[in-house]
């Protein structure tokens, strides 16, 4: 009896695993929720970029002020350094 109960639960989980879609929800919620948490960010749209300093892969400090006049693409990526 217990063996069949365990089998039903495991087969149920197996079917769920096949059926379950991968959602873009994420732990912090969908994009709208995340944006609602940072309302101040909307005020920055259209404004000049503040002076920021980053360290590149070689340890060299790069300031955004040094990049004025050059095309600049900033990419923000969530770190996997958990």
């Amino acid at each position: 009896m217990l063996r069949w109960l365990a089998t039903s639960a495991l087969v149920g989980l197996f079917v769920l695993n096949l059926w379950l879609p991968s959602s873009p929800l994420g732990r912090r919620g969908n994009e709208r929720t995340v944006r609602a948490h940072v309302p101040a960010a909307a005020a920055w749209l259209g404004q000049a970029l503040p002076d920021l300093a980053f360290e590149d892969l070689n340890g060299r400090v790069v300031r955004t002020a040094d990049l004025f006049g050059h095309p600049l693409l900033l990419v923000f990526e969530r770190s996997v350094d958990w």
Partner: protein, 135 residues
Amino acid sequence: MKARAFRALAGATGLLFVAAGLALFFTFFAYQRPGSEPALPMGPLGHYFAAFAGCALVGWGGALLAGARDLQAGRGIAPMTALALAGLALYRMLGWFMGDYYAWAGEVLRYEAALFLLLALAFVWLRPAPERRIA
């Protein structure tokens, strides 16, 4: 036949768990070397829990190896092993559904969950029968 299959299953799973456990355990020590590059994409906290999981895996794998040698010990170990394997599958399924790990692991979580559930089923169905004792 069933006993032999259980011995093979418990032995192979036990060996795999001991090996994975030792690897996780020593990864922590390798990470602590000054200037070392982490073998796993984790920080100090991640490595701390990896070492914890490694020790637990060595213990679990050792118990499975003991169960492969002594079928009555294996009879006691099999249900909890199946339950723990179902747990391993369940959190992978949630990780897959939430999508946070997709960029890093792709479909791997889903395959791992399927593998752990099949292993759990094998432990349920190959569990040795109780020993018959003549009074």
